[in-house]
């Protein structure tokens, strides 16, 4: 659609910029339709939610520091685990990836902005209201939802506090926001690519987000359906999940995990895209197996719809169902393995340097793979009956979500922030942040494998004495990791405020339109004319 404009028109970019800069003051952020502004808003929301969800994790680790109930009541502890999970999944990880997509997708495909800028504004501004509503439940009579982020019925229906209705509404809003954001990303990628930017030339971050957006559109309505059925069960006399009325509590789990399992990949596929951008840059060597990376991403996405009941090996499924879900689940390790092998081959015989983004990317590859190993173990159905609902599971999903998804987001920040702001971050502080976080996060989560294997269930506010040592170690790691992210906040603010001037290329080995075709920082409206594609 941009074929009429030619890229020889060299003076185009800065002219517009004179009479079309951002509005002044707060209204710039409220009314903005600019992909860079909206990306920034998403990233800040995500950071605030990370600290909010993180402070709840601190309460959890404080109570679990030693046996006995010292600080909070069991009901409040359950509110903390529930809200921590919801806030981190929907508030920290997902908006961070949407923020990165907003900043990067148009710049990576040579588009001037997102395809649907007003929708973009709306999909962001729904979220602060959704999370305020969710957070407000903590101050209501009866307290916040306390049934875990998986909100299994009937604990979340008949036995739930009144505030659950606010939780349901908040989840609806988050779902609407995600679906709108996804529509926007798909429309942008399919329609706004610069001439010559064929699908198989797109950076992997764009590819992984395209596939993620389809996953979101497919499963967010399923989540909306689940919470709507909860709502009608609670107030309008239906019995979808109430056995006494002829309903089925296990069906809730099937519906939830039909959303929940693809959701897991929604939180990791964009991370794969980020790592696939960073590793080649610092190995100074092109990504190994680009097309196999695309196919592996697509295979993971398709498989993600067919494995949901591996979260339910103890609900008493027919044995044929358990066998099928076991086979399908362990099969996912094949395309995931392909990705890891490709990254390692990209490094092989490269010329590597280890700036902060590369450190976080290497940390991602190693620790995400450890999470993948425990995932393979969990996929083996007969043994999963012993791992299920223990700290082994908690360790597993924190390895893939914290040292996986979150590490990729932090890596992306260090990698692209010089481009966004025109300022280099302080390399020494970045390296301190990496080593501090990495040591702390392993002290935090590695002992949880031992706790789970030796018999500690998840979501308990207090435990028997045999679990005391590792819980104390884990808590110490937790406090250190939490503090490291406050340090990260300092680095972020310091980098935005100033720092060494970044070059346009930023990194010696960087490739891609955003590094090769745009200055650092890029103009408010970039690529008003389509860039040349090699």
């Amino acid at each position: 659609m941009y074929t009429e404009t030619t890229h020889d028109d060299a003076h185009g970019a800065h002219e517009e910029h004179d009479h079309h800069g951002p509005a002044k003051g707060i209204m710039r952020w409220v009314t903005t339709t600019n992909h860079k502004d909206i990306g920034t808003l998403y990233l800040w929301l995500s950071f605030i939610m990370l600290l909010f969800g993180g402070s709840m994790a601190m309460v959890i680790r404080l109570e679990l520091f030693q046996p006995g109930l010292q600080f909070v009541e069991p009901q409040f502890f359950n509110q903390m685990t529930t809200m921590h999970g919801l806030v981190m999944v929907f508030g920290a990880i997902m908006p961070a990836f949407v923020g990165l997509a907003n900043w990067l997708v148009p710049m990576m495909i040579g588009a001037p902005d997102m395809a649907l800028p007003r929708l973009n504004n709306w999909s962001f501004w729904i979220l602060p209201f959704a999370f305020s509503m969710l957070a407000s439940t903590m101050f209501m009579e009866g307290g916040a939802p306390a049934f875990g982020w998986t909100f299994y019925a009937p604990l979340s229906t008949t036995f739930a506090p009144d505030s659950t209705d606010f939780f349901i509404f908040a989840v609806h809003l988050m779902g609407i926001s995600s679906v709108m954001g996804s529509i926007n990303i798909i429309a942008t990628i399919l329609n706004m690519r610069a001439p010559g930017m064929t699908l198989m030339k797109m950076p992997l971050f764009v590819w992984t987000w395209l596939i993620t957006a389809y996953l979101l559109i497919a499963v967010m309505p399923v989540l909306a359906g689940a919470v709507t059925m909860m709502l009608t069960d609670r107030h309008f006399g239906t019995s979808f999940f109430d056995a006494a009325g002829g309903g089925d509590p296990v069906m809730f789990q099937h519906v939830f995990w039909f959303f929940g399992h693809p959701e897991v990949y929604i939180m990791i596929l964009p991370a794969f895209g980020i790592i696939s951008a960073i590793v080649p840059t610092f190995a100074r060597k092109p990504l190994f197996g680009y097309s196999s990376m695309v196919y592996a991403t697509a295979s993971i996405a398709i498989l993600s719809f067919m494995v949901w009941a591996h979260h339910m090996f103890t609900v008493g499924m027919p044995v044929a169902g358990e066998l099928y879900f076991m086979y399908a689940t362990i099969l996912i390790s094949v395309p995931t393995g392909v990705k890891v092998f490709n990254w390692v081959s990209t490094m092989w015989k490269g010329s590597m340097t280890f700036e902060t983004p590369m450190l976080f990317a290497l940390g991602f590859i190693i620790m995400f793979t450890i999470g993948g190993f425990s995932g393979l173990m969990l996929g083996v159905a007969p043994v999963d009956t012993q791992y299920h609902d223990t700290y082994f599971v908690v360790a597993h999903f924190h390895y893939v979500l914290v040292t996986g998804a979150l590490y990729s987001i932090i890596a992306a920040f260090y990698y692209w922030v010089p481009k966004w702001t025109g300022h280099m971050y302080n390399e020494t502080l970045g390296k301190i942040h990496f080593w501090w976080s990495t040591i702390a996060v392993n002290v935090l989560f590695f002992p949880q494998h031992f706790l789970g294997l030796s018999g500690m269930p998840r979501r308990i506010p207090d435990y028997s004495l045999q679990f005391a040592e590792f819980n104390m170690i884990s808590s110490i790691g937790g406090f250190a990791f939490g503090l490291a992210q406050v340090f990260f906040l300092y680095i972020v603010i310091k980098t935005i405020k100033g720092g060494k001037k970044a070059t346009d290329r930023v990194w010696e080995g960087a490739t891609g339109l955003e590094f090769e075709q745009l200055p650092s920082p890029p103009p408010y409206h970039s690529f008003t004319q389509a860039p040349p594609i090699r």
Partner: protein, 366 residues
């Protein structure tokens, strides 16, 4: 100051119990198989890890710019892509074959079962019913754990001890049937390698053949509300002869209880008994003082039910309140316990109605 607290905590170990790194080695044949499978997959992961991380480490050490490494330019090879798709697939088949066998065995609870134990999850205790023996009782967290929640130092089995353990014979195939009266629970005893959800509206099964006598401890594994962490399981595995003796003693206990239900009870005896029953069954929600938790669980002190018509009070306790967390205690408690706890609620916790409810009133209401 915080450092000082930390140092003192580390210096005086709070735990007496031994910690473990690996999966519990259970005392059932199936448990041995699960352990073997767990270790098989674990070592496969270790082997893959050594290869992948080894290659990464080699690359990080040798292929770095500071050592003058020049970047090669290879970036594609269909052959290696096919190899590292096929080889993991073969490894997975190697895992799937033994896993399938074990799973089929694990799921076969019916064949040749010698004894059936029905397990009902109730917020926050377990009810056990020996189906062929007409013995049933409720097992909940022991008072010795409840008393020390602020500082459990020294209680070796803190949160893993119960008032009445479930007793099972060794060398018999025991079939468990699981269901729930309220929310979803999960019965988990690592030593028996049994973990199964108990779900309202469903009956799930599982099995164990215990090889040696002993006390085996576990707890609820599925979040089931406020006191999910306070819902332990204790299994006493005994020889068959001891099991028969235990059955006989349980039956005579039941007979004595039935006889006492025929008598008229005094207010004093009802209140004493009622307090025990209240603390074990009601205080988790309505609180030890009867004050409840505003917005979640109503207060009993001054409540219209606990101070009004005894018939309505009996009905509420026996049949529960549909659509709320208030459970039906009809099948959980016997006539004496129900009479005692209702009398207690009417004449303690700040209430003083002055009437007694007798076991015979409960019997008539059943």
């Amino acid at each position: 100051m915080a450092l000082g607290v930390l140092a003192s905590l580390l210096a005086t170990p709070v735990a007496q119990a031994e910690y473990h790194l690996n999966m519990t080695r259970s005392v059932t044949p199936l448990g041995h198989e699960l352990y073997g499978l767990h270790m098989l997959v674990f070592w496969i992961c270790v082997a893959i890890g050594v290869v992948v991380f080894g290659a990464m480490a080699w690359s990080i050490i040798h292929h770095r710019k500071s050592k003058g490494a020049e970047a090669a330019n290879f970036h594609e090879s269909t052959t290696v892509e096919i190899v590292w798709t096929i080889v993991p697939l073969l490894i997975l088949i190697g895992i799937a074959i033994p896993a399938t066998g074990t799973l089929l065995e694990l799921e076969d609870a019916k064949t040749d079962a010698d004894l059936t134990l029905e397990v009902t999850g109730i917020q926050w205790k377990w009810k056990y019913n020996y189906v062929d023996e007409d013995i049933s009782f409720i097992s909940s967290l022991a008072q010795s754990s409840r008393d020390v929640v602020k500082d459990p130092t020294g209680n070796e089995h803190y949160l893993r001890e119960v008032d009445q353990p479930v007793v099972l014979p060794i060398n018999k195939k025991i079939r468990f049937l699981f269901h729930s009266q309220d929310v979803i629970h999960a019965w988990w005893v690592p030593d028996l390698a049994v973990k199964q959800d108990s779900i309202p509206g469903y009956i799930n099964d599982s099995w164990a053949l215990i090889e040696k006598p002993g006390t085996y401890r576990g707890q609820c594994a599925e979040l089931c509300g406020k006191d999910h962490g306070f819902m332990p399981i204790v299994v006493e595995a005994v020889t068959e002869a001891d099991f028969e003796k235990w059955l006989a003693s349980k039956k005579s206990e039941a007979a004595a209880a039935a006889a006492s239900a025929e008598q008229e009870w005094s207010m004093q005896d009802l209140l004493a008994k009622g307090e025990t029953v209240y603390q074990a069954n009601c205080s988790a929600c309505h609180q030890a003082s009867g004050a409840g938790i505003p917005g979640a669980f109503p207060a009993l002190t001054g409540s219209p039910v606990a101070t009004g018509d005894p018939a309505e009070h009996i009905n509420t306790v026996m049949n529960g309140r549909a659509g709320t967390a208030m459970a039906a205690f009809k099948s959980q408690l016997n006539d004496v316990d129900l009479a005692a706890v209702i009398t207690y609620e009417r004449n303690a916790l700040g209430n003083s109605v002055g009437d007694t409810v007798q076991p015979s009133d409960i019997k008539n209401a059943r």
